[in-house]
């Protein structure tokens, strides 16, 4: 699929080279990733979709520096990933907001660890809180927010440390359908204002097509890339786009690529 020949002329922002991840489970090791290669260009929005057990979250965690590959290399800006870094923001499905901190304090967390002066911290937090539309809840604790608001806060928190890459691990997976659609539109709006390289994991085919420049379809056992589908629909995307025949055709293609794998034994989860 994404062999070096197919990459863009400029050096890729993210470059995954034959990355493997094997978990030693019992006698037969579990191959979460069996040699995955993928290039993501600067400011590209890539979604990764696939059945559970296909290793999409493992791939994201390796890029985030939270897990180490057992083979191959993951490069960001040409440098191998050795651990987490502020240039890579991560958004988790479980929101992972610090429940004892207010929205503002959560958004300021990364800037505090980076020792950003207080005044600048305030100002930047304010900016990103406004960007995700939470200005009325800046001093609220996470427990008072809805799921969608929590995830918006997490997005603001990731943006606030000014990463060049956003790694999103099924961020809208726990939300109801309507909230999810709304957040997808808001995310694209945010992304159009503050361009970043995005890798977005999902199991929702509609979501994958709606957001992406490129949809990477993964397959399980062993975890691998099954197909890469370009989404040549123009941004900004809206509801009409979602209902257009072009969108429908792409969705069918991705759907087919994902669910065509059904014959393979279901992973135990």
């Amino acid at each position: 699929m994404s062999t070096p020949e197919s990459t863009r002329e400029i050096a890729p922002k993210i470059s995954v080279r034959d990355v493997q991840k094997v978990f030693p489970v019992g006698k037969e090791p579990f191959v979460a990733l069996g040699g995955v290669s993928l290039d993501i260009a600067d400011n590209e929005f890539v979604t990764v979709v696939g059945p559970s057990g296909c290793g999409k979250s493992t791939l994201l965690n390796i890029l985030a520096g939270l897990e180490q590959p057992t083979g191959g290399t993951a490069l960001v800006d040409g440098k191998p990933v050795t651990g987490p870094g502020p240039e890579r923001g991560v958004i988790f499905q479980q929101y992972a907001l610090f429940p004892w901190l207010t929205v503002r304090e959560n958004v300021e967390f990364g800037m505090r660890t980076a020792k950003v002066p207080k005044a600048e911290r305030r100002e930047r937090a304010e900016h990103f809180i406004r960007l995700v539309g939470l200005e009325q809840f800046a001093d609220a604790l996470p427990k008072t927010l809805s799921g969608g608001m929590k995830q918006r806060c997490a997005i603001a928190r990731a943006y606030a440390v000014n990463p060049s890459i956003l790694l999103m691990d099924e961020p809208f997976g726990a939300l109801d359908a309507l909230t999810r659609v709304r957040l997808q539109e808001q995310l694209l709006e945010t992304w159009s204002k503050e361009r970043r390289t995005v890798m977005f994991i999902t199991h929702d085919v509609d979501e994958a097509v709606f957001l992406a420049n490129r949809v990477v379809v993964m397959a399980a056992r062993p975890g691998r890339i099954a197909e890469v589908i370009d989404v040549d629909l123009p941004y900004p995307r809206d509801e009409d786009m979602r209902l257009s025949p072009e969108f429908g055709a792409l969705r069918n293609r991705v759907w087919h690529a994902v669910y065509h794998q059904r014959q393979i034994k279901e992973p135990a989860q």
């Binding site: 939270l66 991560v90 928190r157």
Partner: protein, 266 residues
């Protein structure tokens, strides 16, 4: 009935709560009054109980001659000293155990072993080694508070949500920052539960320690009253112990609720 009418103006099931709380409070009061009435009845019926009036007058006399204040002061001083030392040590040891596997391996067998021994069982040994001053009593109380609180703190550190630690890591936090700004706040609820258990345990141990070896304190007062068959004084002692224990527990609970108001499901 102001509560009911105010509740009725609200919508949905909102009024159910205040009314329920009110009912609960009324039942509490009825129960207390009935309990005292039964006590009174039993003592009048010839059981060897002092009547509530006798107990109150004994308490009044002890308040006037200062013995009650002295005893309460002595007991509270011991329990607070032992409890404070025990909690601080428990939090430190609990954090170290939760954070470093080596420390966990080294501390755990000893803590598990001493946890099975009631702190009071150490008293004879401690009295021999530390004499009959304040230190042996404070030491057993320290032990009681420490052993109750340390496991809970350690559990709190171990149970910190891994996602929160990862979230801090990807935001650039160092190990030190993660400890101070994620692990410590995330384990506060556990520590507070441990402290409440520790306080109860410390208070119980204190009174028993005073019964065995003390020159002042509520336990000592009851012990000497026993020699003179002075039942009202014993009752005053029992009630004072209960009331003080309850007050300390409630204060700790209120402080805890303030500190952990951020918790999701409560």
């Amino acid at each position: 009935m102001a509560v009911t009418s105010a509740g009725a103006t609200r919508d949905g099931n909102a009024p159910a709560r205040p009314r329920k709380n009110r009912t609960f409070l009324v039942l509490n009061i009825i129960s207390i009054v009935a309990g005292i009435a039964i006590w009174w009845g039993l003592s009048l019926a010839g059981l060897q109980f002092p009547t509530p009036v006798e107990v109150v007058s004994a308490a009044w006399k002890m308040t006037l001659d200062g013995t009650l204040a002295t005893d309460v002061g002595a007991s509270l001083g011991r329990v607070l000293a032992g409890f404070a030392l025990g909690s601080v040590a428990a939090v430190i040891v609990g954090f170290v155990m939760g954070w470093y596997t080596v420390a966990r391996g080294l501390f755990e067998p000893w803590i598990q072993f001493f946890r099975t021994i009631p702190p009071l069982a150490m008293l004879p040994l401690v009295l021999v080694l530390m004499g009959i001053g304040e230190s042996p009593k404070i030491f057993v109380i320290f032990l009681a508070a420490f052993l109750s609180c340390v496991i809970s703190t350690y559990q709190g550190v171990v149970n910190v949500d891994k996602t929160l630690i990862n979230a801090a890591r990807v935001l650039g936090a160092s190990d030190g920052t993660i400890f101070g700004r994620v692990v410590v706040p995330a384990s506060t609820p556990f520590i507070l539960v441990g402290m409440r258990v520790g306080l109860g345990s410390a208070w119980g141990t204190l009174v028993a320690a005073e019964l065995l070896a003390a020159q002042a304190g509520l336990g000592h007062r009851m012990q000497s009253a026993q020699l003179y068959y002075d039942l009202p004084t014993i009752f005053v002692g029992i009630i004072a112990i209960g009331v003080l224990g309850l007050i300390m527990d409630r204060l700790l609970m209120i402080a805890g609720n303030k500190l952990t108001a951020w918790q999701e499901n409560r």
